[in-house]
């Protein structure tokens, strides 16, 4: 995982900026995807996914905290935010599993 972060510093900035203006607005993600296709496609996409997941997770825990504090978040909003964070995490996890599986399959090939 450390190898990926080096090449995608720029995309990191794009990704973080895009997801912060409202957790439901995904226009920024498409933009960063277009940018990442230029150099290292898979690494860039994966980096974006990680950042999106952590941003959604942060938004979800923020929503739940403010729900419990009574500062104006409706219960269904907190539930939706939590569910979205879960889905993004699941997706990232499955992509990671597939990537690791593909790598191991490749390494297992004998010549």
């Amino acid at each position: 995982m450390s190898g990926l972060t080096g090449g995608s510093g720029v995309f990191g900035g794009l990704g973080a900026g895009a997801v912060n203006d409202g957790f439901l607005s995904d226009a920024g993600v498409a933009a960063s995807n277009a940018g990442s296709a230029v150099s290292v496609p898979f690494a860039g996409m994966f980096q974006t996914m990680i950042q999106q997941t952590s941003a959604l997770d942060q938004k979800a825990s923020q929503a739940v905290t403010r729900l419990l504090n009574g500062s104006g978040v409706e219960i269904h909003d907190a539930m939706i935010a939590t569910q979205k964070a879960d889905m993004a995490f699941e997706l990232a996890l499955q992509v990671r599993n597939k990537a690791v599986g593909a790598y191991q399959q490749m390494m297992g090939m004998q010549f």
């Binding site: 729900l67 009574g70 500062s71 104006g72 409706e74 219960i75 269904h76 539930m79 939590t82």
Partner: protein, 174 residues
């Protein structure tokens, strides 16, 4: 609104309607009372409702209450601790009353003239032999009680509906 903000609104209505029913019960019980600690016959009481807050956030209403927004003054002759207790011992939130809800602004004594009946033998008879009775019509009181009961039932079913909504939003995560 906070998690149970909507339920606070309906709960405030339940409290207010219950105060109204208790005032009606007090009026009916004292319909023949000719002497009170203040002297004179019992005076008919009625409640005055007021709308509280109105769509403000919890923080806003809390700040308003802390700055001393008056919760109404209470009339004499009524059980002060009973009504005052509703204002002070609000379990769920620190603010008195819910924004958008209803509160009892006060319990007011009717200033209507008492009913005079001629009965010189009565211990409370005046010099002219007339005894002053409170002018309470049981029919009026019963209609008021029916109105309070109907409103109470409606708001109780509103609370059930709100509970259903909150439970179904919990289902989102299942």
């Amino acid at each position: 609104m906070n998690l149970f903000g909507v339920m606070d609104v309906s709960a405030s209505a339940l409290r207010a309607e219950r105060v109204r029913a208790e005032v009606v019960a007090s009026n009916m019980a004292n319909a023949e009372t000719t002497r009170t600690p203040d002297g004179g016959p019992y005076q008919r009481h009625h409640v005055v409702f007021e709308a509280e807050g109105g769509g403000g956030s919890f923080q806003e209403s809390l700040v308003n209450e802390m700055n001393g927004a008056p919760n109404g003054s209470f009339g004499s002759g009524f059980n002060r601790t009973l009504v005052g207790g509703f204002g002070l011992s609000n379990g769920l939130t620190a603010a008195n009353g819910a924004p958008g809800g209803v509160g009892v602004a006060g319990v007011i004594s009717d200033a209507s003239a008492p009913l005079m009946r001629y009965d010189p033998q009565h211990p409370d008879a005046g010099a002219d032999g007339f005894v002053a009775y409170p002018d309470i019509n049981p029919l009026t009181e019963m209609v008021d009680l029916m109105g309070a009961t109907r409103s109470y039932g409606m708001n109780a079913s509103a609370i059930t509906a709100e509970k259903g909504m909150i439970s179904s939003s919990l289902d989102l995560l299942k």
